[in-house]
Symmetry: C2
Subunit: 319 residues, 2 copies
C-alpha cells in the first residue's frame, strides 16, 4: 500500500506543465506497490502512472531503469513506457522526490496463480531477456549473491527470535549456495522481482509487466528461479511441478536453456529463495511497529528454501 | 490507505457477470479512504469505483446510503451514482463483504485548501441539503450529540496519557456543548464528513463529492460546522475568517440560514470539533500498533475546539 508523498494540486499542475499530455482530469493514489508512491493520473491524452521514487531507490539508478523500460517497450515488451517532457527528459523532481510519468497498462494481477498463468509468464520472461540483449548499460545487482553474506550478518542476530535454529539453518544454506554458485552462465538484463503482483493479465493473455526497480544485469536463469519460487508454490508451500513445467517449457521454447543453466536450477532457486528470506528478515527486524508497510513473513521463503535445498537436479522442477 | 480485502480475479469475474457493463479492462486498489476497500475498475463501459464495505459500516445502513447517493445524483449533485446489476440490485456480496459499483468522478481533492475552494464548497453543500429534502427515509446520526457522552466515557481514561489535563478539558466542553445544543433547527440529510479528501475539483470547479458513509439525518447547519472546522483552519491552527466568509456566504446565498442557525454556529462548531476529537481519541487508543491505518492526531481537533469555545457569535466566523 503506497502513497508516501502527498502531491499538492499546485505542485502537480507545475509538474504537468512540463509535459505535452493535455490538462489534468483525475489523480488518485494507488494502493499497490511498497517501494514508491504511485498515482493513477488521467489527462486529456489518456491514462498514465505517476511514480515518486522513495528512499529505497537510488536516484543514480533511475536513468538505467527508465532506459531499460523504454528499450523493452520499444521492442514489444508490454512494460510501462516512460513519457518524455517538453525538454526531452523522462525524469524530474516533484515534491523533493525524483519522479516520472509512464504509460498505463491494462489488466489485473492474479491474486491466485493458476496453471494457465505460468506458460504466458515463461514466454514473457524469455522475451524480456531476449529484448534486453542489446541494452548495453549494466547495473550491478545490489541484492545479488555478493550481498547475501552482509545481509545475513545484519539480520543473523535476530533470526532465532523469529524461529529458534533459523540462524544456523540460514548460515549453512548461505555457505553451501555461495560455494556452488555458477558464474559462467549467460548474463543479461533481468527483472529480478517478477512476483504475481507485477504481472497483469487480460482475457487470459499476459498484458503487462511492471515495477522494474530491482532490475539488474545478472544471470538470466536466476530470473527464472525467482519466478519458480514466486509462482509455483501453493499456499500450503507444496511445489506444483505442473506449473513449473509450464513456466520452464514456455521459457525454453523462446530462449532454449543451456545444459549448464538446467543443471544449475536447484542452486539458483536456493539462492533466489535465500535472497527473499534475507531481505524480508532484514525488513522484519527493521520495520518499526506502527509503520504503514506490510511486513512479509520471512518464513514463507524459508519453506521454499528447504524445498530447493532438497532438489537434486532440474527434474525436481519437472524439467 | 485502504485495501483491506483482496479480490481474486475469479471472484471479480463472477461479480462483474451480474452487471451489464462489459468486460473487465483494469482493476487497481486505491490508496485513499480509510473505512472501506476501494478499487478503480475499468470495463468496456467506462470507469467505475468498486467498494467493499468493511467492518465499520453497518450493512443495514447501506441501502440508505446508496439510495441517498442515487437520489442526489439524479438531482444533479456530482456524487457517485450506484450502478444496478441485471437483477436491479446495487448492493451484493463479494469476498464475504457487501459491495457496490459506483460511477467514477473526475477531479482531484485539494491537498492544500485555498480560498478559491471555499465558495464552491459552500454552494455544493447547500445544493446537497436542498436536493436531500425529498429523500424521505431517515438515518439516525450514530456519531451525533447523543453518542458523545458514551464516546467520552470510553476514551476518557486514556485522554491524559495523550496530554495531561485533556480529560478535564473535554469533560467541561462536553457538558457545556450538550447543555447549549440547539434542537429546533432545520433538519435534513447531511454528509457529515465533507473533509477536503472527499471533495474533487477540476479546472477550478467543484467536480465531485464522495464518501457518503457517515451521512445521516441531522441539523443541516451542523454539516456547515463540520466544513468550517475542516476547511477554514490553517496548518498552524489559525482560523482563516476570509475562507469562512466565502464558505458561509455561498451556502447562505443558496439556502439562506435562519437567524437561529446563525446564532447557533459557535456551539455547532464546538460540537463538530468535539465529535472528531472523541472519535480520533477512541481510534488512537484502540488502533493496535502495526495496524495499516494512519491514526489521526486528536490534538488537531482540540485546537479547533478551543477556537470555537472562544467564539461569541456568528461574527467569529465572519458572518
Amino acid at each position: 500500500m503506497a502513497v508516501y508523498t502527498e502531491v499538492s494540486d499546485e505542485a502537480l499542475a507545475g509538474f504537468l506543465a512540463e509535459y505535452d499530455i493535455g490538462k489534468l482530469i483525475a489523480f488518485r493514489g494507488i494502493a499497490e506497490g511498497v517501494e514508491n508512491s504511485n498515482y493513477a493520473l488521467r489527462t486529456e491524452a489518456g491514462d498514465f502512472i505517476l511514480t515518486l521514487y522513495e528512499k529505497r531507490v537510488v536516484p543514480a539508478d533511475l536513468p538505467w531503469f527508465l532506459g531499460l523500460m523504454e528499450h523493452l517497450a520499444e521492442r514489444g515488451i508490454p512494460c510501462p513506457l516512460p513519457v518524455h517532457g517538453r525538454d526531452g527528459q523522462a525524469l524530474r523532481v516533484l515534491c523533493g522526490r525524483q519522479a516520472a510519468i509512464t504509460t498505463f497498462l491494462p489488466g489485473v494481477w492474479p491474486r491466485r496463480v493458476r496453471l494457465a498463468h505460468c506458460a504466458p509468464l515463461g514466454a514473457a520472461l524469455a522475451a524480456l531477456h531476449l529484448a534486453g540483449r542489446d541494452y548495453a548499460p549494466e547495473r550491478v545487482n545490489a541484492l545479488g549473491p555478493a550481498s547475501w553474506a552482509s545481509l545475513f550478518a545484519h539480520a543473523a542476530g535476530d533470526a532465532d527470535r523469529i524461529r529458534p535454529g533459523l540462524r544456523a539453518e540460514l548460515e549453512a544454506a548461505l555457505h553451501g549456495i555461495l560455494e556452488a554458485w555458477p558464474e559462467d552462465l549467460p548474463r543479461g538484463q533481468i527483472h529480478a522481482d517478477l512476483f504475481p503482483d507485477n504481472v497483469f493479465f487480460l482475457d487470459g493473455k499476459l498484458s503487462g509487466l511492471i515495477d522494474f526497480y530491482f532490475a539488474a544485469t545478472e544471470l538470466l536463469a536466476y530470473d527464472l528461479a525467482i519466478c519458480l519460487n514466486a509462482w509455483c508454490f501453493e499456499p500450503d508451500y507444496s511445489f506444483n511441478v505442473t506449473k513449473a513445467r509450464a513456466l520452464l517449457g514456455a521459457y525454453d521454447a523462446a530462449r532454449p536453456l543451456l545444459q549448464a543453466e538446467r543443471a544449475a536450477l536447484p542452486v539458483l532457486c536456493q539462492g533466489a529463495a535465500l535472497r527473499f528470506v534475507l531481505t524480508r528478515l532484514f525488513d522484519w527486524i527493521n520495520t518499526p511497529s506502527g509503520a504503514l508497510v506490510t511486513r512479509k513473513d520471512p518464513l514463507d521463503y524459508v519453506r521454499r528454501l528447504r524445498f530447493n535445498l532438497a532438489a537434486k537436479d532440474a527434474g525436481a522442477y519437472g524439467f
